[in-house]
Symmetry: C2
Subunit: 252 residues, 2 copies
C-alpha cells in the first residue's frame, strides 16, 4: 500500500518515527508533517499565509517533507502537490489520547478527517500517555490493523480514530468499537502573574465526566483499544427536524 | 438577555461592531474576541502558550476584552473567568459564508459550538461577501432572530449556524432550515517563487460541488438565509454499526 504519514507533534516526533519503521517494512510510506508541534489546532487550515515546504533528511536518507502549516494542510498539500493519491493516510502516533470532546480540538484526528474529506482512507492513532512512552506496541498494532483493513466491510473512504491504552500489551483487554463521548470536560483556567506583575492564564482540563461504557473515554480507561469511525457532518438532524416542524417565519 | 459576542475576525472587526450596536439596544452585551484575525483556525484551543487578556476601549468607553487566542479560547475564558454565565453566545458577523465543508475550518462556528459544549446557547453568523459589506441588515436580522428564540422549541443548549446572502433585503427569498453540505470543495495550491527563487504555496478553494437544494451551500446561493443546527458528535454511527456487526478480533 501507498501510505502517507503525518501527525501534529511535528516531523521529528518519536511516534511518527515508530510508525514509519514498522509500516515501511511492508508498504510504500511517505511523510509530510508539520515542521513544529501543532497540537490542539483543531481542523485549522492556513489560508492567510503562504505554506513553505522543506525536505528533511535523517543522515544521508530522505525522511520527508516538513510543512509550515497544520496537519490538515499537510494532508492537502501532500495529496495535491507533493505525493499524489495514496491508499491510506495515517496520523500519529499522538502523545496523549484523543477521545471525547478532545476529538474536536485534535490536530491528529483532523488530518485523518481531512483524508476522508478528500476521498482517501484515514486513520488517527493516539496513545494515552505523555511520558515514558513505548511506541512499539502501538506501531505493531497499527501494522496488524492496516493488514486487516482489506477484510473489513466499511464504507470507503473511512476514517478511524484509534486510541491505545498505555499498558503492557498483555494487560490490554481487547479492541472495542465505540462512539465518541460528548460529555463535558472539567476545565479550568489558572491565573498567574508574570515577572512584571501582569496577569496571564493557563488553560487546562481534568478528567472527562463520561460514565457510559460504550464510549471511547470509558472503554480506553478500562484498558481497551478503542476504535471510533469518524464523519464530518456537523448537522444536528434532531434539531433540523424540530425546526422544520415549527414552520417559523421570520419577517425580513 | 445577557449576550456574549465574539468572532474570528478580531475585536476591531466591523461585523462585531454592527452586531454590538444593534443588540445592545435591548440586551446586556459583552465582547470577548481575539486580538487579531484568527480565520480558518477550526476548533483550535491554546494549551501550549499562556493566554493574555487586554481591556480595549473605544474613546472613553470600555469596549471589550481582547484575547491572545482563538475564538474557542475566547468563549471558554469569557465564561470561566471574565464574564461568567450568559444566556447566549453570538459569534460573528463573519466576512465570508461558513457553509458546507468550510464549517469544519471555521473559527466563527467553533465559537458557537464551544458555547454549546459548555452548556450555553450559541449562534454563528456569517455573511456571504468579502468586500463592500453592508452589515446592517444582518445585525437587524440577528436582533429579530434573538427575539424569536424564546418561542422556538429547540433542544437546549442549541447551536445555530446562520448564513446571510449578500443581497438587498427585498431580494432575499426567506429563511431555510437546511443541513450542512458534505460535498467536496474544488481546492488547489498555487505554487510561486519568492524573491530568492524559493517555492511557496497559496492554498485556495473554488466553488462547492454541491447540488442538493436542502443544503446550506445551495440554499444560500439561491438567495435564502440558511440556518443549520450544529452538533459535535463526530461518530459515524453507520460505520459503528457496520464494524460491530463484523465481530472483528485483532490478536494482541
Amino acid at each position: 500500500m501507498k501510505i502517507l504519514l503525518t501527525n501534529d507533534d511535528g516531523i521529528y516526533a518519536d511516534g511518527l518515527c515508530g510508525l514509519y519503521f514498522t509500516l515501511s517494512e511492508e508498504h510504500e510510506v511517505y511523510i509530510v508533517a508539520p515542521e513544529v508541534e501543532r497540537s490542539a489546532v483543531g481542523h485549522a487550515i492556513t489560508i492567510h499565509y503562504p505554506l513553505r515546504v522543506r525536505e528533511v533528511r535523517r543522515g544521508k536518507y530522505f525522511w520527508g517533507y516538513a510543512v509550515s502549516g497544520t496537519p490538515a494542510d499537510c494532508v492537502k498539500l501532500a495529496i495535491y502537490e507533493l505525493i499524489g493519491p495514496v491508499d491510506l493516510v495515517i496520523s500519529g502516533i499522538n502523545r496523549g489520547a484523543n477521545v471525547g470532546i478532545n476529538v474536536l480540538y485534535s490536530g491528529t484526528v483532523s488530518a485523518a478527517t481531512e483524508a476522508k474529506i478528500l476521498g482517501y482512507n484515514g486513520i488517527a492513532v493516539s496513545i494515552d500517555a505523555y511520558e515514558n512512552i513505548d511506541y512499539c506496541f502501538t506501531a505493531y498494532f497499527l501494522g496488524k490493523l492496516v493488514k486487516k483493513l482489506n477484510n473489513l466491510s466499511l464504507l470507503r473512504p473511512f476514517c478511524l480514530n484509534v486510541n491505545i491504552p498505555h499498558l503492557n500489551p498483555h494487560q490490554i483487554k481487547g479492541v472495542k468499537f465505540v462512539r465518541q463521548s460528548t460529555a463535558k470536560l472539567r476545565e479550568f483556567f489558572e491565573k498567574r502573574l508574570d515577572l512584571h506583575g501582569k496577569i496571564y492564564y493557563w488553560q487546562g482540563a481534568e478528567e472527562h465526566t463520561e460514565t457510559d461504557e460504550e464510549t471511547d473515554v470509558v472503554a480506553l480507561k478500562q484498558g481497551f483499544i478503542t476504535i471510533t469511525p469518524i464523519q464530518y457532518d456537523l448537522t444536528s438532524y434532531s434539531g433540523l427536524t424540530s425546526l422544520n416542524s415549527q414552520k417559523i417565519s421570520i419577517d425580513i
